[in-house]
C-alpha cells in the first residue's frame, strides 16, 4: 500500500511516459493527479511508507492536517495544469511536469529531512526542463541560472541537515527553530526557494522564460513547498515576520513598472509569498491557518492569472504589456477569467483572496505587530495596482493594439473556467476551505467591518488609479528591462573582475604591465587553460609527463626523508 503513495504514483507514471503516445501522455497527466488524490485520501493520519536506507529511517508519508492541505492543493494544481497543457506534445515537458508535481507532493509529505532533501532536489532538476523546453538560447542560459540557484538551495539544505544531525542525532523534520548553524543553513536553503528578498531573482528571471504551460506549472509548486517547509520548521520565528513584510512591499514597485506580464505575475507571486511568510513568522494557530489558506487560494488564482496571460501569449506570441491591449474583443472568456483571478488576488469580497488574506492580517493585528500589519494593508493596495488592474487592464483593454487573436483553445478555456469557478466558490463558501486548515477555525470573514474596510481600501485605490490615469501620472508601458538585484551576478560580477584587477594593478605600479596582463589574463582566460589544447587539457608529451613524475618523486622524498 505504501508503495502507492502519491509521489510514487507520479514517478511511476513518469517512467511509463516514454512508452506512450503523446495523446495518451496528455491523458496520463489528467489521470495521475486524480489517482494521486485518491491514494492521498486513503492514508490515515500518521507516518507511512517508512523505509530504512543508509541506516536512516526515512518517512515518505507523514500525513497530518498541514501536509494534507498542501498535498490536496498540489494535486488540484497538477490536474488543472494537466488540462491546461492538453495541447502539449513534447514528452520532455510532460515527463518533467509529472516528476515535478510528484516531487513537490513528496516534499510536503516527507517526514524527515533526508527525504525532504531528495524531493527538494528533484523539484529543482525536474522543473528546469520546463524552462529549457522553450528551446531557445536565452531560455537555456536562464535555466542554467535557475538550476544553479535551486541546487544551491538543496546543497545548503543538505549541509544544514548534516550539521543538524551531528548536533542532535535526529533527522526528524519537525519544528527546528534558529538554534544552530545547521538550522540556519536549512533556513537559508528554504529561504532561497521561498524567494526571500535578495534571494528572489531566480523567480522573476525564470518564470517568464518557461514555456506557456510550463510557467503555469512552475507557479504552483516550488515556492509553496518552501512555504510549507518554513511553516513546518520555523513557525513562530520572529525574523520571518519582517522578512515577509519586506517581501510584500518591494516587489510591488517592480511589478508596477515591469513590461513582461509574466514577470509582473512573478513579482506579484513574490509579494503574495510575503503574506504567507508573515503568517509563518507570527506562528499562532490563526496565523498558520492563514498561511495554509492563503497558499491554497494563491495557487489557484495565481495559476489562473498565469493561464490567462499564457493563453494571450499562446495566441499573440507576446506577453509584453506594451504590445497588447484591446484583446477583450476576441478573447472575452480569457478576459473574464483573468478578471476573476485579478479580483481574487486583490481580495475583493466574494473572491478567494478575501477569505484567506484576512486571517493573516487579523493575526498580525491581534498579536500587536502594528507596523507589519500596516505594511500588509499597504501591500494589499499594491496588489490591486499590479495584479488587479495592470494585468487585465493593459492586456484586454487600454489602447487597442489592433490584435485580433482567436479565443484560447477549448482545453485552456476549460482549465481557466474551472479554476475561476474554484476561486469564486472558495470566496463564497469559505467553510469548506476552513475545514481543511491545520487548526480548528473560529473565524468569520464576512463581517460588516471586514467587508466595509476592504471595500473602502480597494475602491479608493481604484479611484486613485482613475485619478492617476487622468493626470497622466500612471507610468506608461514601455519596452525594456528593469534591473533588480540579479544585476549583481549577471552584470556586476562578470564586469567587475577586470576592473578589480585593473585597480590592483594601478596601485602596484611597479608590476603594472606584467601584473595586469597576467592576472586579468588569468581571470578572463581561465577557460583557455581548460579548453582542449589548453595547458591543463593538453595531451602531454612523454617527456613532460616524466618531468612531472620526477618532480613528484622529489616532493615525496623531501617530505619523507626530512
Amino acid at each position: 500500500m505504501s508503495l502507492l503513495a502519491p509521489p510514487f504514483i507520479y514517478m511511476l507514471a513518469a517512467l511509463l511516459c516514454p512508452l506512450l503516445s503523446s495523446r495518451h501522455r496528455a491523458l496520463l497527466l489528467l489521470i495521475v493527479p486524480v489517482l494521486g488524490f485518491i491514494s492521498l485520501l486513503s492514508f490515515s493520519y500518521g507516518h507511512h511508507a517508512v523505509f530504512h536506507v543508509l541506516g536512516f529511517e526515512l518517512t515518505f508519508m507523514r500525513v497530518d492536517k498541514l501536509s494534507m492541505i498542501f498535498s490536496i492543493i498540489f494535486s488540484i494544481a497538477a490536474l488543472l495544469g494537466g488540462i491546461y497543457s492538453w495541447h502539449v506534445r513534447d514528452h520532455i515537458q510532460q515527463i518533467a511536469t509529472l516528476v515535478y508535481a510528484g516531487a513537490a507532493i513528496g516534499g510536503v509529505l516527507a517526514g524527515d529531512l533526508i527525504s525532504l532533501f531528495l524531493y527538494w532536489e528533484a523539484t529543482a532538476v525536474a522543473s528546469v526542463f520546463l524552462i529549457w523546453a522553450r528551446r531557445s538560447a536565452a531560455s537555456y542560459a536562464t535555466g542554467m541560472r535557475y538550476l544553479i540557484i535551486q541546487v544551491l538551495s538543496g546543497v545548503l539544505l543538505l549541509a544544514g541537515l548534516l550539521l543538524h544531525y551531528n548536533d542532535t542525532g535526529s533527522i526528524a523534520f519537525d519544528h527546528l527553530g534558529l538554534v544552530s548553524l545547521g538550522t540556519w543553513l536549512i533556513f537559508i536553503g528554504f529561504g532561497i526557494k521561498c524567494a526571500f528578498p535578495l534571494m528572489h531573482n531566480w523567480l522573476q528571471d525564470s518564470y517568464p522564460a518557461a514555456t506557456v504551460t510550463g510557467t503555469v506549472i512552475l507557479s504552483a509548486f516550488t515556492t509553496k513547498m518552501a512555504v510549507y517547509a518554513l511553516a513546518r520548521g520555523y513557525a513562530g520565528t520572529e525574523i520571518l515576520i519582517y522578512i515577509g513584510a519586506v517581501m510584500t512591499l518591494f516587489p510591488i514597485f517592480f511589478a508596477e513598472i515591469e513590461n513582461d506580464l509574466r514577470r509582473v505575475l512573478a513579482y506579484s507571486l513574490n509579494n503574495q509569498l510575503g503574506f504567507m511568510v508573515v503568517g509563518v513568522g507570527i506562528g499562532t494557530e490563526m496565523a498558520l491557518n492563514g498561511t495554509a489558506a492563503h497558499a491554497f487560494c494563491h495557487i489557484l488564482y495565481k495559476a489562473l492569472l498565469f493561464m490567462s496571460v499564457g493563453a494571450v501569449l499562446y495566441r499573440t506570441g507576446t506577453s509584453k504589456a506594451s504590445e497588447l491591449g484591446g484583446l477583450y474583443k476576441t478573447m472575452p472568456v480569457t478576459m473574464v477569467c483573468c478578471l476573476v483571478g485579478a479580483a481574487s488576488i486583490s481580495a475583493f469580497p466574494l473572491f478567494s483572496g478575501f477569505v484567506s488574506k484576512s486571517l493573516i492580517l487579523d493575526a498580525s493585528a491581534k498579536n500587536s505587530y502594528y507596523v507589519v500589519w500596516f505594511a500588509l494593508v499597504v501591500a494589499s493596495a499594491g496588489v490591486l495596482s499590479h495584479s488587479g488592474i495592470k494585468i487585465p487592464y493593459f492586456t484586454f483593454f487600454a489602447h487597442d493594439s489592433g490584435k485580433r487573436p482567436a479565443e484560447a483553445p477549448v482545453h485552456m478555456r476549460i482549465a481557466m473556467i474551472a479554476t475561476a469557478v474554484l476561486c469564486v466558490l472558495i470566496g463564497i463558501f469559505p467553510g469548506a476551505l476552513y475545514a481543511l486548515l491545520p487548526y480548528d477555525v473560529e473565524y468569520k470573514p464576512y463581517t460588516v467591518s471586514h467587508v466595509l474596510a476592504q471595500m473602502q481600501l480597494l475602491c479608493f485605490a481604484l479611484l486613485a488609479f482613475v485619478f492617476l490615469m487622468r493626470k497622466g501620472l500612471h507610468p506608461p508601458e514601455v519596452r525594456g528591462v528593469n534591473l533588480d538585484s540579479d544585476w549583481l551576478y549577471r552584470k556586476l560580477a562578470p564586469g567587475l573582475m577586470p576592473s578589480i584587477v585593473g585597480l590592483v594593478a594601478l596601485r602596484v605600479t611597479a608590476m603594472q604591465d606584467a601584473g595586469v596582463k597576467a592576472v586579468s589574463g588569468l581571470i578572463k582566460r581561465i577557460s583557455f587553460l581548460a579548453r582542449p589544447g589548453g595547458m591543463l587539457a593538453v595531451s602531454w608529451g612523454v617527456n613532460s609527463m616524466v618531468l612531472v613524475v620526477t618532480v613528484m618523486m622529489l616532493i615525496v622524498l623531501l617530505f619523507n626523508l626530512l
Binding site: 516514454p18 536506507v53 523546453a133 541546487v151 591543463l536 609527463m545 616524466v546 613524475v549 613528484m552 617530505f559
Partner: protein, 496 residues
C-alpha cells in the same frame, strides 16, 4: 572440492581462455569463449564473495606450497569486492564489445583482441586476489601489457601514440612499484604481504622501508592516474576502442587504487603511512586539485570521451581524498566510490560508445537533438550522468554523501565544500551535453549521418544491465555501504 579451489579457478579460467582464442581464431567463437569464460569468472567471484562474507578471510596456498616459499592468495572482503567488481564489469562490457569489435577492429585480428582481453582480465583479477607483493607486480605487468595492446586496436592512428605513451608511463609506474617491492624485500626479507606487514616495524634499515614507501607512492599514483600524474589517461581513453575504454575506466584504475589501499593501509599500516610518513600532505592536495581542476577542464571538452576521461581523473581525486581521511568512514566512502564510479563511468562510456558506433565520433557539436534518433542511448547517458553528478537516489549520491559526512566527521570542512563545488562543475559538464542531446535543433551545416538509428540490442542490453545495477545500488544504498564498511574495517585492522 571445487569450492576449495575457487581462488585458483578465478585466475585459471581467463588465463586458459586466452590461448584458446588464439588457437581457434574465429571471431564469433572467440567472442563466445570470452563471454563464457567471463560468466564463469563472475560466478566464481560471486561464490568467493559469498564465502568471504560468511566465513571470513580465505587463504589459499597456490599449488599447495605454503606461504613463505610459495605464493599465497589472500582474500578478505576488500579483495572479494574488487574481484566481483572487475569480473562483473568485464562480463558486461565483453558482451557489449562484440558489435564494436566487428565494426572497428581489423577483421583478421578479432581473436587477438579477445585473447588480450582475457589476459588483461587475468592480470586485473590476479592483482586483486594475490597476497604476494611480487606477484602483484607480475599480474600488473600482465594486465598492463595486454592493455597497451588493446588500446592500440583503436581504429584511429592516434591510438598507437596514445598506447605508446601509456606504455612509457605505465612502465615507469611499474618499475617504481618493482623498485619499491625490491626495497621492501631487502628490508624485511619477505614477499608475502602478511609477512612484510609484520616485519616492517622491526626492519633493520628503516631507510630502505622509507625509500620503498616513496617509490610505491609515486608508482601507484601513476598507475591510478592521480592528478598530476594522469597525463597518459585522457589520450588512452579517447583513442582506445570504445569497449576497451569502458573496460579500462571501470577496472584498471580501480584495481590500482586497490593496490594503493593494500600497501598503505594493510602493509605499511595506517599509522605509518598517515602518521609517520604524512602521506596526506602529498596526496590530499593532489587529490583536491585533481577533482576541482579536472572537473573544470571537463566542462570545456568537446569530445565526450575526453570529457569523461577528465571527469574520471576528478573522481579518482574524490577517492584519494576519501582515503586521506584515514578513518573508517573515509575508507568506506572511498571504497563505495570505487564501486559506484566503476559502474557509473563504465555505463557512461558504454552509452558514448553507442553514439560513436552510430554517429562515428562523439563530438558534442554533432549530437544535436540526438534524443530523437537514439532515445535509449541518450536516456542511459542521462541516468548515468545523474549518477556522476551525485543526484539523490543514484549510486553517485551514496558515495558523495558518505564522503562529505566522513570529511565532516574528521572536521575537514573544506574538503566537503570543495566536493560540492566540483559537483556543481559536474552539473555543468553533464548538463551541457544533455541539453545538446535533448533540446538543440539539428543544424544543417553539421549533419549527422543519414539513417541514424538506435544502437544494436547487443549493446543496449548490457548497458541497461549495468544501469539497473547502479540504480539498485543507489536505491538500496545500505547494501554497498555495509560491504564497503566491512572492507574498510579489514584494511584498517591490518593483517591478523
Amino acid at each position: 572440492m571445487i569450492a576449495d579451489q575457487l581462488p585458483a579457478l578465478q585466475i585459471v579460467i581467463p588465463m586458459l581462455a586466452a590461448p584458446l582464442c588464439v588457437l581457434i581464431r574465429r571471431s564469433f567463437v572467440c567472442w563466445c569463449i570470452a563471454v563464457l569464460a567471463n560468466v564463469l569468472v563472475l560466478a566464481t567471484s560471486w561464490a568467493i564473495f559469498k564465502q568471504v562474507q560468511s566465513e571470513g578471510v580465505i587463504r589459499y596456498a597456490l599449488g599447495g606450497w605454503a606461504a613463505p616459499t610459495g605464493i599465497e592468495y589472500y582474500i578478505d572482503s576488500m579483495n572479494a569486492i574488487m574481484l566481483l567488481l572487475v569480473s562483473f564489469i568485464s562480463c558486461v562490457v565483453v558482451v557489449y564489445a562484440h558489435e564494436t569489435v566487428r565494426k572497428s577492429v581489423q577483421t583478421g585480428k578479432h581473436y587477438l583482441f579477445y585473447a588480450a582481453w582475457m589476459l588483461c582480465l587475468t592480470g586485473l583479477l590476479g592483482i586483486s586476489i594475490t597476497g604476494d607483493a611480487f606477484n602483484v607486480f607480475v599480474f600488473l605487468e600482465i594486465s598492463s601489457l595486454s592493455m597497451y595492446m588493446l588500446i592500440a586496436f583503436g581504429s584511429d592512428r592516434r591510438a598507437l601514440s596514445a598506447s605508446f605513451r601509456y606504455l612509457i608511463m605505465g612502465s615507469i609506474g611499474a618499475s617504481f612499484i618493482l623498485i619499491g617491492i625490491g626495497f621492501l624485500y631487502a628490508a624485511t626479507g619477505a614477499l608475502n604481504m602478511v609477512d612484510i606487514a609484520s616485519r616492517i616495524p622491526d626492519a633493520q634499515s628503516q631507510r630502505a622501508v622509507l625509500v620503498a614507501f616513496s617509490f610505491l607512492t609515486i608508482g601507484l599514483m601513476i598507475k591510478s592516474a592521480v592528478f598530476p600524474l594522469h597525463g597518459w589517461l585522457a589520450n588512452a581513453y579517447q583513442h582506445a576502442p570504445i569497449a576497451v575504454t569502458a573496460f579500462l575506466a571501470g577496472t584498471a584504475t580501480k584495481v590500482s587504487l586497490y593496490v594503493l589501499l593494500r600497501f598503505f593501509f594493510s602493509i605499511f599500516g595506517t599509522n605509518y603511512s598517515f602518521g609517520g610518513m604524512l602521506l596526506n600532505v602529498v596526496l590530499l592536495p593532489a587529490a583536491v586539485a585533481g577533482f576541482v581542476l579536472m572537473s573544470l577542464v571537463a566542462i570545456f571538452q568537446s569530445d565526450l570521451r575526453r570529457m569523461l576521461a577528465y571527469s574520471s581523473v576528478a573522481q579518482i581525486g574524490y577517492i584519494i581524498a576519501a582515503f586521506c581521511l584515514a578513518s573508517q568512514a573515509g575508507l568506506t566512502a572511498g571504497i563505495v566510490h570505487i564501486i559506484n564510479h566503476g559502474i557509473i563511468k563504465t555505463a557512461l562510456f558504454m552509452s558514448v560508445g553507442c553514439i560513436i558506433y552510430r554517429v562515428g565520433h562523439a563530438h558534442s557539436d554533432s549530437l544535436d537533438n540526438l534524443f530523437k534518433k537514439m532515445p535509449f542511448t541518450v536516456c542511459a547517458f542521462i541516468f548515468s550522468g545523474l549518477g556522476l553528478i551525485g543526484v539523490p537516489l543514484t549510486a553517485g549520491f551514496i558515495s558523495k554523501f558518505s564522503l562529505i559526512s566522513a570529511s565532516m566527521e574528521r572536521g575537514w570542512w573544506m574538503i566537503g565544500v570543495l566536493v560540492l563545488l566540483s559537483s556543481l562543475f559536474a552539473i555543468v559538464y553533464v548538463g551541457r551535453v544533455v541539453e545538446i542531446m535533448l533540446f538543440r535543433k539539428a543544424r544543417t551545416d553539421n549533419p549527422q549521418p543519414t539513417g541514424l538509428r538506435e544502437a544494436p540490442l547487443l549493446m543496449l542490453v548490457p548497458m541497461y544491465v549495468l544501469l539497473a545495477v547502479s540504480v539498485w545500488v543507489g536505491i538500496s544504498g545500505s547494501a554497498t555501504l555495509s560491504v564497503a564498511s566491512d572492507a574498510a574495517a579489514a584494511l584498517l585492522g591490518g593483517y591478523q
